[in-house]
Symmetry: C3
């Protein structure tokens, strides 16, 4: 993965991250955010995965149901954010994936292995986005002051 | 729903709106835009719905065909805008939803009940986006000067 | 198609492009980028198509498999970018489409004929995004310096 800064702003910087074949997105993005000190950002991207694991959150059972995607897919949409949870960057990404037959699948991204590329845009936001454990859902959710 | 201003800009402000379980998006967002005086903005978001109603616009019949989504879904992508129609904010949102089996569905958002959360970003745009009734399609469409 | 400039920035301009029924997106957007001198930008949009051709890239065979979409669909999500390839704007768009039954389909956009409208936002980025032929994948990919 290579990163470049697209702009420097009063309201936060914008970066383009270009991933290579074989890169796992969540792992590499988390490490990059830690190294770069990014704790509040918006994420968008397009590209492709050789395989991925997405999830659907069962609100009643308060647990993620994992859905393996064991085929090469186009990454049709990637939306998410970075917030701070207990001092560390917490990454939250939802994806829509396209199969060779043009069917769309998707969910909360657990892991995605890039093939052949992924172009991810990271827009830092100036206000601090902090996550807090929400006892009702069992999730860490963004808690506005 | 709680809102916070992420940035103040010459080119318009950016807000984060965090919805709670049970909130209906279109209703609450419309009221917030009215109170805030927001009449031109771009919308993006991720989250989840306990249930929703989406629609497909039948161009030949000039009417929306409603599609009820009667199961809890991940909100995989939300894209849309706010424009002005007859002096009021007109909200236009398209969504992609993910089921517990990882299938993606979606359409024009008629109503969506949040569960467990929805993080919506509102980017005001400086130019006025005005909608006008388009007799050919029967829709109110953005009309650039 | 009509275009209007939404903002002028140190970090690049933002434009709204509103397409009409019958417009083909890739062709008109390419021409507009050429005329406007736009060679690095991010693309987002919502709208609808009377019909479209999407594709899935077969990484092993290094070729796009085309998937015709021969029905009117909602354009649920459009994400992509403009980069420079051999001195010309290269447009890369992924779409998610919604059918009358609420099923989502999608892929790499080869061609899409607008009906009834398409609202496309073009955010210029200040850093130069250059594509280079990648011998491994057989694709032109963004190559960061």
């Amino acid at each position: 993965m290579r990163a470049t800064q697209l702009s420097t702003g009063d309201h936060g910087n914008t970066f383009a991250l270009v991933f290579n074949t074989g890169d796992e997105v969540i792992e590499q993005l988390t490490r990059w955010c830690q190294n770069q000190g990014v704790t509040a950002a918006r994420l968008t991207g397009v590209g492709g995965f050789s395989d991925a694991t997405v999830a659907w959150f069962d609100c009643d059972a308060r647990e993620f149901i994992e859905i393996p995607v064991t085929e090469q897919v186009e990454l049709l949409a990637l939306n998410g954010d970075v917030a701070e949870l207990d001092g560390n960057p917490a990454i939250h990404i939802h994806v829509v994936l396209g199969t060779r037959h043009g069917d769309a699948r998707g969910g909360h991204l657990i892991a995605g292995r890039v093939r052949p590329t992924l172009e991810l845009i990271v827009d830092e936001v100036p206000a601090h986005l902090r996550k807090r454990h929400d006892p009702e859902s069992g999730l860490a959710l963004i808690a506005l002051a």
